[in-house]
Symmetry: D2
Subunit: 118 residues, 4 copies
């Protein structure tokens, strides 16, 4: 699904229910924080191995899928309410990352990760 | 941009730099938490009015766009690393929300928001 | 309660249950993120007015108290596991804030908040 | 330092600078989210081993100390603004945890962590 499509669907969903009044920027950000917190709770006592095992099963990965979806939904709705072109912002960020970490230099060093120099 | 396209681009970006080794589930989740924190810092002392004003200007909204993009990037990368079909998860969630909050009932009451019954 | 006392009590609690093995730094941070997310969920659809009303009632404020306590508990436990002297860190921070925002200058301008210059 | 002392010092700090007007519940929560995000950024590309190494050095652990202090400061300030007795809430929570996870049962099973049954 494109962000454009999801944006339109969420807009319709809110309008039909007269819920636009509740979708203030700070409210949507806090809702996003809440969903990230729920994902963190799924991961908190697990190692990366445990997490891979959790998402390997069709049933067991459901809660993880739900939280990822919720985060995406609130993110896209927040961007829309703010009038931000999310795709444009992502394109700009990807271009900036390409320029910041050119393949030839990044590959050898991986300094971003091993020197924590961000 | 579709989540499928973004997934592919992020996968290539990581592979070209030999960075896949760093993209463990918990690391990506913490990176996501970090970006959400940065967005929170942009909003923290502002009212919703202030925030709307901030995003009204092409230059002043840049930092907000950057954080929203970063959140989306880490979210899509995390879903990919977990083997989660993000679009499928979103479709399932939208369908569940339609069923949970039918227009005719949700419109009148808005109980989700005013009674905080989630 | 002092942080020293709480640290000691949490240490005993974990040791008695043989739970020290689970209290790795990243696990405790994710648990903290989870609790902050739960507090965000209590606030998300409420205005500051609504929140004040919520915490005005002895019964209705219970969930807020629980989340604040959980955040404090994981924070103090995390600091202990990291070997950080939390009180010392707080004292250092308070001193730094006093130096950074001297009363005579901060009072007039409140630039930290109104110019968002942090 | 006790929470009571820290509460009093933060209250004086805010009053002297005429900053009480900015310390609304949602603003303080977002500030807390921002500080948790900064701590997450320190941890994100590190293993638990790396983190232990980071906090082993007096200089290298400074940023971690700063973020832990900031989280504690905003948490205590938020509790105060909400009129919540943080110590009382912690005592109640500790008692609830003692009852929920009695030593004799918790020790053998550690089900909280290994069965993720929270």
């Amino acid at each position: 699904m494109s962000n454009t499509d999801l944006t339109a669907r969420l807009r319709t969903f809110a309008r039909e229910r007269d819920w636009e009044q509740f979708h203030e920027p700070r409210s949507l950000l806090l809702a996003l924080v809440g969903e990230v917190g729920e994902l963190a709770e799924l991961f908190q006592w697990r190692t990366d191995e445990d997490i891979r095992e959790l998402v390997a099963g069709r049933e067991s990965r459901r809660p993880v899928e739900d939280e990822l979806a919720d985060i995406n939904i609130y993110l896209v709705r927040l961007a829309d309410v703010l009038g931000v072109d999310l795709d444009g912002a992502i394109e700009a960020k990807l271009a900036a990352n390409e320029a910041k970490y050119p393949v030839e230099r990044a590959k050898g060093s991986a300094a971003k990760y091993t020197e924590y120099d961000q």
